[in-house]
């Protein structure tokens, strides 16, 4: 190793001593930036943005399709159709009117509706007249499935310690005070994390969900 290289190495090493930046705020910042950056490049027709969007949201699209259809092959077909039509129809995406994931989920819903439409056409061909397809209650049930899938998705995008705090509050039914005790954080900090995270989850369900 030459002296210069050694010097560079030591400088880098010194500057990477314990990093005290919190993951939480960083993740939130990055998440917003990433969505914005991908959206802009997507509209511009940058092919790498399609790959980025696929990385980011294909699991969400696929999970919803899978839960809605209950069939692996149909879910895969719908996921493929969503990304193909999103790319072909990217001129129709207006960042002023909503986020890219919200737009993709809109396409997902239409593709799922198309799927059921085609299914019921097939069923009508096959079944006797008068046998109604009583799928209303199933639809209502499935809407709450989407909300839950979205909630899990948004929860996973929270930084730490917010995600940990929300999991303790939701799934272990701990009180704010118990969470503060367990994590060794001030109660006020826990309260404000929970308030802000709950609001963020609410917004996600409002923007992308079906309940409102």
């Amino acid at each position: 190793m030459t002296a210069t290289l050694l010097h560079d190495y030591l400088t880098v090493a010194l500057f990477r001593e314990p990093d005290t930046r919190s993951w939480g705020s960083f993740v939130e910042l990055e998440a917003q930036d990433v969505v914005e950056d991908v959206s802009v490049r997507f509209v511009d027709g940058d092919e790498t943005a399609l790959a980025d969007a696929y990385r980011a949201w294909s699991s969400l699209v696929h999970t919803i399709a899978l839960r809605k259809t209950g069939n692996d092959a149909d879910a895969a077909d719908i996921t493929q159709a969503v990304f193909v039509s999103a790319w072909r129809g990217r001129a129709g995406f207006d960042p002023q009117r909503g986020t890219l994931p919200a737009w993709l989920l809109g396409i997902t819903r239409r593709r799922i509706a198309d799927h059921w439409e085609a299914q019921s056409r097939d069923v009508r061909k096959l079944t006797a007249v008068g046998e109604s397809q009583d799928d209303e209650p199933v639809e209502a049930h499935m809407d709450s499935v989407i909300d839950r899938v979205l909630l899990v998705d948004e929860l996973s995008r929270l930084g730490e310690p917010q995600r940990n705090i929300m999991e303790l509050a939701f799934f272990q039914d701990l009180t704010h005070a118990q969470i503060a005790g367990q994590l060794g954080l001030p109660l006020g900090t826990v309260k404000s994390h929970i308030r802000r995270s709950l609001e963020r989850l609410r917004l996600r369900l409002e923007v992308d969900g079906v309940a409102y």
Binding site: S22, S58, G159
Partner: protein, 224 residues
């Protein structure tokens, strides 16, 4: 002039914490606070209704190939499923998902070192990856040994191992983990694993930024 219930208080009520009598009273009369609470209740009840079946399921790799083929594109593959990470999901369910087993005094057959703490590394955000981390003590030196199964190769980045405080507020970068091999890191003398119990493996880019990329692939918590 009515003063509404503040958001901290409404949030606590939506989680089912005891309501102050004055707030209870206010809620019976105030439509604004009722509708606010209804929105928050909806989020809490949705979350509490989450089951294992609501976990995200990544599409098979063939779907991306089909998209590329149908659109006649030539993009690189979106690096396996590893980077469906920052965006994705999982890890959820049942609290801190920290599955930790303390195995005290189990001797390591390699050296005279003793495993003093061990944890499974669970997938973060849908990475689907799993591994283990163990702290071995030998004399006055401690080593963290990390192994992640089937860690995919990345073309424009690398994996880095971190230890962090339980709230992930402070972290220490330990070094690189290469796909296909385990790695061992000598811990800084004086750094207590009890203070830095989280073990995290992140995907980093060659961007000159020494901080955590915020893209974690696996994480676990050592028993303290």
């Amino acid at each position: 002039m009515v003063s509404h219930i503040d958001d901290d208080e409404l949030t606590m009520i939506s989680f089912g914490e005891p309501t102050r009598p004055a707030d209870e009273e206010h809620l019976t009369q105030c439509e604004h606070c009722q509708s606010r609470l209804k929105q928050l209740d909806f989020v809490v009840s949705t979350a509490r209704g989450v089951t294992d079946a609501d976990r995200p399921v990544a599409p098979p790799d063939s779907v991306w190939d089909a998209v590329v083929a149908e659109l006649a594109l030539t993009p690189e593959k979106p690096v396996a499923s590893v980077t469906s990470i920052e965006v994705a999901r999982n890890r959820i369910l049942l609290g801190s998902a920290v599955t930790a087993g303390l195995i005290l005094g189990q001797s390591d057959d390699a050296l005279n070192s003793v495993v003093v703490a061990r944890t499974k590394l669970e997938p973060v955000a849908g990475s689907g990856l799993q591994g283990t981390a163990a702290v071995e003590a030998s004399g006055d030196s401690s080593t963290l040994r990390v192994s992640v199964r089937d860690l995919p190769a990345v073309s424009d980045g690398y994996y880095e191992v971190w230890m962090a405080t339980a709230d992930a507020g402070k972290m220490v970068a330990l070094g690189t983990l290469n796909p296909g091999s385990d790695a061992a890191f000598i811990l800084p003398r004086g750094m207590k694993t009890a203070d830095y119990p989280l073990v995290d493996v992140s995907l980093e880019r060659f961007d000159g930024n020494a901080g955590h990329s915020a893209v974690s692939v696996v994480r676990g918590q050592l028993p303290v």
